[in-house]
Symmetry: C2
Subunit: 220 residues, 2 copies
């Protein structure tokens, strides 16, 4: 299965769906379902079955027509692709309400994803421990990230601080950043930034609700 | 411009980018920039200029080759599309850490988006006021949503409670739901659900970081 690791040809849209497929396949497996047809899987995860079949085709012959997909095998393939056997040690920057919510949840359904340390500049927070994660002084961030060889960071700092923080963590060796500040940031080419922009998501949702469900309401 | 409201032909991917375009155009306008070329805009928002031109083409002739786009005009068009002049009254269900973070932020850069009420079942929270938003007993949710004619809800409740809450708000007239529980929910056809799945975003980010930046590291 080693060849599956080199997935340079997988479209970004497919890569985005793999974690979702993986989660649902694990749920199926835990419920004793060992085989599933693409149209059943489609209904369950609300993704068109043509999309599922096209996505799965990137990983070779994973199913047979009329028989469906072998659930344990798919789990093995996706687990391998996502490297879920290897712990990902994550640093969180910004331990406000959103940061606290992320630490308290700490991706507990995915045991390999671990927020191991948090950083903040608030003296009230520094030294505190939240769900076994210690909040450290942001002044020590660069040094600790280097020492711990952390390459993934979640940022929940205000937009005004985001560029400064990102420059510092990138200098310390971070290459993957999940950022909750919507402002686009400058990073070197080898660094991946994923933006979670809640306002945009909400505006898109409302736009869809108004224009596709009740078109008449929007013309009042 | 009335005809722009009926955007049944706009692809979902384009609709998703409109709020982002809108935010950056407002920033440009506030900085005194009244005209921008697609390649400059592209660099600023990190979206390919071909995508921007294709997206904008859905809204008619918004720019001229070599001249660039008229910023105030685009703002007017997108504001109209997004209905930003009309207040959206939003209810939040689940006032834990994540809910509190959302109430405290309350989309303050978009004055038309307003969380006006929150619901929770925790007696410690009921009756409290966070950033001028009162936390009400979840037992009153259905009645209050109907009374206030609220159609948009943000849900930050545990996965195990999500279906029950969604059934109740949909019965009360809600048609747009931003949901932070990753589990797919059953809703009637006229209801839009947008899932914010932080674990999936993080897994996708790490997958990209490992496979596209440092492919050699993943084969150790």
């Amino acid at each position: 299965m080693e060849n599956l690791k080199k997935n340079h040809a997988i479209p970004k849209a497919t890569a985005k769906r793999i974690p979702l497929y993986f989660r649902y396949l694990k749920t199926l497996d835990q419920s004793g379902v060992k085989r599933i047809k693409s149209n059943e899987f489609s209904q369950m995860i609300q993704i068109p079955s043509a999309t599922i079949r096209r996505d799965f085709s990137h990983f070779g012959e994973l199913g047979r027509s009329g028989y469906g997909y072998d659930v344990p095998y798919l789990i093995q393939v996706f687990s391998n692709i996502l490297n879920t056997e290897i712990e990902k040690r994550i640093a969180l920057v910004g331990a406000g309400n959103l940061g606290k919510a992320l630490i308290n949840n700490n991706f507990r359904k995915n045991s390999n994803l671990n927020i191991v340390v948090a950083f903040d500049s608030d003296p009230e927070l520094i030294g505190k421990t939240i769900n076994d994660v210690k909040v450290e002084d942001i002044a020590k961030m660069s040094e600790m990230i280097k020492k711990e060889s952390i390459t993934t960071v979640i940022m929940t700092v205000p937009s005004s601080k985001a560029q400064q923080v990102i420059d510092e963590v990138v200098d310390a060796g971070v290459t993957a950043i999940l950022n909750f500040a919507p402002k686009r940031l400058r990073v070197p080419h080898h660094v991946q930034v994923q933006y979670i922009d809640l306002t945009t998501e909400l505006q898109t949702l409302i736009y869809y609700d108004e224009n596709y469900n009740h078109p008449d309401l929007t013309t009042i």
